[in-house]
Subunit: 241 residues, 2 copies
Amino acid sequence: MAYELYYWPTIQGRGEFVRLALEEAGARYVDVARGSKKEGGGMPAMFALLDGTKVDRAPFAPPFLKSGRLLIGQTANILMFLGARHQLTPAGDAGRLWTNQLQLTIADFVDEIHDTHHPVGASLYYEEQKEEASQRAAEFRAQRVPKFLRYFETVLSRNGSGKHLVGGSLSYADLSLFQVVAGLRYAFPRMMKRLERKLPRVVALHDRVAARPRIAAYLSSDRRLPFNEDGIFRRYLELDD
Amino acid sequence: MAYELYYWPTIQGRGEFVRLALEEAGARYVDVARGSKKEGGGMPAMFALLDGTKVDRAPFAPPFLKSGRLLIGQTANILMFLGARHQLTPAGDAGRLWTNQLQLTIADFVDEIHDTHHPVGASLYYEEQKEEASQRAAEFRAQRVPKFLRYFETVLSRNGSGKHLVGGSLSYADLSLFQVVAGLRYAFPRMMKRLERKLPRVVALHDRVAARPRIAAYLSSDRRLPFNEDGIFRRYLELDD
């Protein structure tokens, strides 16, 4: 039976981390909210599970994944589930905890990336908080991005061949770090050009993931939505340096 | 062997969610950074693991937990580990995923609580961003707090007796929800007074957790740090309604 992924239909957002894992696994899945209402898809199908009064374990927000009778929310939680099923995480408990820890650190980073354009609140438009966004983005570029990316560079350098974040094979944390690098390149091209020289392992990981056959096929398909200014990674050049 | 917890020594912060689980489990643990430098504790012991060049799987930030040779970071990840070891989570995979999902939703809520007093950036003092904090807190009180707390009220109401978030017994998610209610009462007393009337199950859960013998003993001990204005939950009355 195919997985059902539920996420906002017009952005990569946090759902993209799940899509990348499903694509790399070669799993069958339906991106439900991108489907047609006539065939039971679209936004109504998503809101039926979010707001339905009969849903036992309703998620708080998208993305969430339906796998048979299981309904699983929270990006890192979905990835932990998929990772165990599709060999995108080590078999042992210690390796799984470490993979989850790295994914949660990436999630924290993603939250901070989002807040660069929405520091004062998600209910206001970016245009209403441009000045605060400029202040927040300056701190983000100068302190937070280097701290996070150097951390992942160090994790790679301390892990044997330096080719994966965890152990000797690909994990969903690698896929997620690829996505963060791709997103930062889109949103902060000048900053990334400056920083990448000192992040050889992070950049090489990005390139290796992008070249994996299933990921490469996905990235060139119309299943991959383009980055845009409604998502997490937004290209507002005034926030770049 | 006792667990070693590493967290900032003067605040409850995110470390408190781990402390509550350790206390409820009756586990032996050392709160390392609160110990004396002479005996190998204090902040240098914490930074040795954060910044040491020989640490294989160094965490990005506190809190982290040492259990034998395992070093585990990220609050929700630590709780998943402790939950499985100390019967603070269901035995089956589905229940564990659900508990983790709720904990990650609480973590998102905690991030938003923190950002009410630091919207523009963590490197600035609150006093330097009071105006933006006021704007962000207004949205937080009007929209985000009701949305999160009603969500947990609904989760309780859909779970059998309504006494626990997950299944028929206490989980670490219950302990964490207790902490959030306690913290919100400290930081936003007027708002909580208004909201609590419509949250009978959430309030009852808070009270039941507070009355558990080990938690009650902990809360009245000097191991429980008081809430203060360096932590996540800060009492700035101008941000309350």
